[in-house]
Amino acid sequence: MIKTAMALAMVAAGAMAQVKPEDILKSPNADWLTYAGDYRGTRHSPLKQITVANASSLVPKWVYHVPKASKLEVSPLVHRGVMYITAPNEVRALDARTGRLIWEWKDGRATRSDVNRGAGLLGDSVFVATSDCYLTALNRKTGALLWQKQYADTKKGVFCSSAPFAVKDRVLVGTAGGDTGMRGFVAAHNATTGEEMWKFYTVPAKGEKGAETWGEYVEWGGAATWLSGTYDPELNTLYWTTGNPWPDFYDGDRKGDNLYSCSVVALDVDTGKLKWHFQFTPGDTHDWDGQSWPVLVDRMVKGKMRKILLHPNRNGFYYVLDRTTGEFLHATKLNDLVDWASGIDERGRPIKVPGKDPTPAGNRVCPGVRGGANWMAPTFSPDTGLLYVITMEQCDIYTSSAKKPEPMTGFSGGGAGPKPRDAGTFYLRALDAATGKRMWEYPMPGPGVAWSGTVSTAGGVVFVGDDEGQLVALDAKSGRHLWHFQMGEDLFASPITYAVDGKQYVAIASATAVFSFGLFEPAQSVELVKGAR
């Protein structure tokens, strides 16, 4: 009893504490304070109560069904026993031990409803972007509205889906909509007032530097920024990946590299000024957004310790860059099925195989349009030195259309799809982070619909959502299966791990619900409390 009361006191005191920037620097620990858990995009937790030895005893602790949800993509946040989850235009705070609702906020006036990938936390605020791009700050204890600020114009093809990213005194936001014409950007807003501090466009305006790499439709060029970024506090640099150029599958009106589409941009977090950029797929015609995570780690590369950026790309290659300078270090094939380029040259540009662009009649190209990798969250374990990344082995038939581009009409210059029906196969692959060497892989057969990701722990376990509605635990060293649980529906979100009162949990959103798992403990009888009615 005394123990419980002490635990309670800890939770109560914890709930009072603000989320300070230095707390986010230490995340994840018991808390999980950003979309990827930390600033570096590693999704690796120091928690080690759940281990390779006991993961077989995992059981569901609670389930929260999100009313009317159909495709949750949220990566939950946890702060001092409170979990924050989002659905399109909605935020909820749950008791992370019990799954009970504390408060909910809905924006009944939002003019769009698209997917939403999560929230941000700073101070006493929880931040979310509505589908129609209102950056919204709520009191994290009550859900009361603090401010709302529309940061992108939905009448110009933009919608918003990514989790706001809190750094220092500001909240960074991105944009979606690059498949039907828009102009991507990253913006910083004051966390207290919502005022814009800077905005970096990922596509130049006409006449600006880089516009010569486009054609007439440059200002509708896309390069959307639909995932959160990562951040290196020592370099004061923000790393943000960008999406495909528009129209996706036909480049007749945009011959050139199309800067900064399919790239990673390194921005000064204080000013938004571009420090460097690296383009993975110049002049892309396969909708291969560069949106996979830029994971920031320090590793020995060719005998020298370097600050590097890891990037498994949708185009089927795995890249390692120097994140201080943007220097290309090397790239390796991520997938077995890659036929559009024979390799990456010493400057980091693809060595293209002729005849692999989309055609009016259709052209089979590998990887498929969903890519060799995509936005499914990878994880990096410093204990194993491995990057765990979900990859897809599949090819598609790509078609093109030379029709005059019309923004915001759904036109994307063609299309892509498997013919004959080929769902492809997902694999979780463990790569040596520095070299890209494949150390093991775990096939995840299924209908080919999954968009789930990963989390790794100091307990030596990697959790991954598979292609058939299961959360799976694997030995991080070997890929050996330890445990799985069928959640009964498709997965579009990545797992996280957190602890409350010294107990470790693993949580993941399925299509319509949030599940939280922990180690089995026999139930204890709970006496009815006096006064309860």
Partner: protein, 268 residues
């Protein structure tokens, strides 16, 4: 009923300049939002419809027309008109006889019942209401607007954008009439003797989540709780109607009606 009629009559000066377009930009019937038509519709409603739908459309044998639906997904004006005219035979609602003009007046009244207060004519002086809210009425001790004020009552930052005038008025004049789930006043005594007071966000036999008067959350397992009591009444004072004049309450309603989270045109 009387108050709404007064509102409606006194508000005629304000109604000019209101924008009355449906979400798809279609021009609305001139009766919608028209103060005279709404008043005529209310009269007709009380004579014919209130028997089933209750005074102020608060429900009875027939459905509540002012609560219970998400306001942004209610029937269109035309569908409301059609339902009034033809009735709902399967649900026991008879057709409504009368001229097209009368039926549109009824429609205008029903639409006004559920329209966001921010888009409805207001009779009160919002400045009077603002002074009351932050002053002698003490609303701000429990309620917040854009981060200012207390936290144990519902946030009112979007009061006018998310609630009809009727709902705002009822919440002031008859608090708790529509329940207070998530805001029940409670006192909890822990097994270690600590006493906590606040509002219950959620509870069952195994855990409860309590927000105390300082705005701090307490996430409690019932194994740590010795006893707790929940007030049967809403935490909101029940006597505003007696304490303040009609003009003051109208002012408060008008002030709250002005509170919207985002610009109104964004809704269209």
């Amino acid at each position: 009923m009387r108050t709404l009629a007064m509102c409606v009559l006194l508000g005629s000066a304000i109604v000019a300049g209101q924008h009355f377009q449906e979400g798809d930009g279609k021009k609305r019937n001139p009766a919608i939002g028209n103060i005279v038509a709404i008043a005529a519709g209310e009269k007709a409603f009380n004579e014919g419809c209130a028997v089933c739908h209750g005074q102020n459309g608060q429900g009875g044998r027939g459905p509540n027309l002012a609560h219970g639906r998400v306001m942004w997904h209610t029937l269109s004006d035309e569908a409301t008109y059609k339902r009034i005219k033809e009735g709902v035979p399967s649900g026991g609602m008879p057709p409504t006889p009368g001229s097209e003009e009368k039926l549109w007046q009824l429609t205008a009244y029903v639409v006004a019942l559920r329209a966001p207060a921010a888009e409805s004519p207001q009779t009160g002086d919002a400045a009077v209401g603002e002074t009351l809210f932050w002053g002698k009425a003490g609303c701000n001790e429990c309620h917040s607007i854009r981060g200012k004020g207390g936290s144990i009552g519902p946030d009112l930052s979007d009061a006018g954008g998310s609630r009809s005038t009727t709902v705002i008025r009822m919440a002031i004049e008859d608090p708790g009439a529509n329940g207070s789930k998530g805001f029940e006043k409670a006192r909890v005594v822990l097994k270690n003797g600590t006493a906590l007071e606040g509002v219950l966000k959620n509870r069952n036999n195994y855990s409860l989540q309590l927000l105390d008067g300082r705005g701090e959350l307490h996430l409690l397992l019932m194994t740590a709780v010795r006893e707790f009591t929940v007030a049967k009444q809403s935490a909101m004072p029940p006597n505003y109607k007696a304490r303040f004049s009609a003009a003051e309450i109208n002012g408060l309603v008008a002030y709250l009606a002005k509170q919207t989270a985002r610009p109104l045109q964004a809704a269209n």
